[in-house]
């Protein structure tokens, strides 16, 4: 189990998280909250990158202030988009595994396995500096799982991924969870979490406001419309097809005719439609990103409804 025992973290006088008591079981657990709510703080506390101001964190029986033991069983895919300079994807993973103290042969085998698992085999020989945002995200995921940890912590792991890579990455998470591991991930996008989590923990202003099985919050989420930002070469095509869905509420095409903002009550259907447009019409998709404002509204909706629990 991952146990937060009355944990508080302050950055000077600024609150990170306050009086968090949690027990996280194996499976996929999502930390959900708006930007600045304390998700990354909780993850950094779990990984030992931060020390609690008060309370203690124990990960699978190991206190978080013992990196020499903790990091054998924990892998962390952070949001920090920085890499040691000049390394290829393979060299980056190999160097990381060498830092774990593994033998040369193990480093080679595990690097290749992790790279294959995140679908970067073809790009493994290229420098990480030349990777796209999505590829950098995936190589960080490979770094987090390469040493075969029992606890995998992932901070906004789907950021920057295209729909295909998202689906593949979610499948990797599910596979890790099915192997009996702890998968703890953060997201500020409730719909994304809905697709993949066994359990969610809602955080707001440093407090845990709700936690439990995803089914408990799903209905409330589904009734609430979400906004999705799409950048592509043919926004008019997307717009015309979206209106065929009864869940579409509003569509705004950008002035540069290279994107649109979609307001929909059923994000799942919308994402499926996008996938179909890519496959059947060769739609050139540059970016797909749920818009924050609406997610904030969902939190407000949930928080006003439930109120803080701690």
């Amino acid at each position: 189990m991952i146990v937060f025992d009355d944990v508080s973290k302050f950055y000077g006088e600024v609150l990170g998280v306050n009086r968090v008591s949690l027990t996280i079981a194996p499976g996929i657990t999502s930390l959900v909250g708006p930007n600045g709510s304390g998700k990354t703080t909780l993850m950094n506390l779990m990984a030992g990158l931060l020390r609690p101001t008060k309370g203690r964190v124990v990960v699978d029986g190991t206190p978080s202030d013992r990196p020499e033991v903790l990091c054998r069983k924990l892998g962390y895919c952070t949001q920090y988009d920085a890499f040691p300079p000049g390394l290829t994807g393979y060299e980056f993973l190999h160097a990381t595994l060498r830092l774990h103290g593994l033998s040369e042969r193990e480093c080679r085998d595990r690097s290749a396995r992790a790279i294959a698992r995140v679908g970067l085999t073809d790009a493994a020989g290229r420098r990480v500096a030349g990777y796209s945002k999505g590829m950098r995200q995936r190589i960080r995921l490979a770094q987090a799982i390469a040493h075969d940890p029992h606890v995998v912590v992932l901070d906004e792991p789907l950021n920057g991924l295209d729909p295909m890579a998202r689906a593949e990455t979610i499948a990797v998470f599910r596979q890790l969870a099915d192997e009996g591991r702890f998968v703890v991930l953060s997201s500020h996008i409730l719909h994304e979490v809905d697709l993949l989590s066994d359990r969610v923990i809602l955080i707001h202003h440093g407090y845990v406001v709700a936690e439990g099985k995803i089914a408990g919050v799903r209905d409330e989420i589904e009734e609430h419309p979400v906004q999705v930002l799409v950048r592509c070469d043919r926004p008019s095509l997307v717009a015309s097809r979206i209106f065929e869905l009864d869940s579409a509420v509003e569509i705004k095409i950008h002035d540069d005719r290279r994107g649109l903002l979609v307001h929909t009550r059923d994000a799942d259907k919308f994402y499926l439609l996008l996938n179909r447009l890519v496959l059947e019409h060769g739609l050139d998709l540059e970016a797909v990103a749920p818009a924050d404002e609406d997610v904030q509204a969902v939190y407000t909706y949930l928080i006003e409804k439930d109120g803080p629990t701690s």
Binding site: Y80, L99, G101
Partner: protein, 277 residues
Amino acid sequence: MSEARSATVRQVLAVQALELRKRFLGKRAIPVYLLALIPLMLFGGRAVAMLVFGQGRSDTIAQDSVVYAAIFRVMILRFVVYFGCVAVFVPLFRGDILDRSLHYYFLVPMRRSTLTLAKYLSGLAAALVLFCGVTMATWVLLYGAHGPTVLFERLLSARGAFELGSYLLVTALACVGYGAVFLTAGVVFRNPIVPAVAILIWEGINALLPPVLKKVSVIHYLESLCPVSFPPESGIAILADPASPWVSIPGLLLLAAVLLAIASRRVARLEVLYGVE
């Protein structure tokens, strides 16, 4: 060797590989190379002038030896090695914080004290190669300017070998001492330039300090080990009450060990807070 111990050795070597790459090939290596070039250009220029144009020939080898002793203390030791160590050792941790990549080291199963030692050793290896290389090259250029015969005679004589060996030892100990000082400064201070300048001033006025305060510096012990003393008529400050090698060498090693222990404790409590650095 037990599996745990060999794993630790592999971890230290892995840190070395990553850090040496940064120290020699990273963008932060450029100022170090430029610093190292200054004495090389000076002695190289003199050697070319003497060999090609037959100009600037010193009257005696002994005079060269005194001139080198002065240049070594003032330029190589107090300027090149000092600022070189600032540039090599301060970024070992501070550079990773600024680059937002320190978490890669903190997310591996390694004691923070081992990480501190491994980083220090990698900085030391880089500094030794660069600055002992500068000392060796300038000394060779000094006597090589008189022709290969003079150079080899000097190198193979007991006095010449002692002189060169002593300068290399002093350079190496300077890297050990200043390296520990600046690694610790990089960990303790958010802006290590302020302590670097403060230490530079303290080391600079060392000759003017009373004997008790003189001993609270790195340069005092390094200068005590220098092989050539200045004649009284040279006008250069003479080292009063020099420390014996039996005090200087263990003293500098002890200083480095104490500073590394302080740095290790600090690194053990270091948090990854890139946003506020």
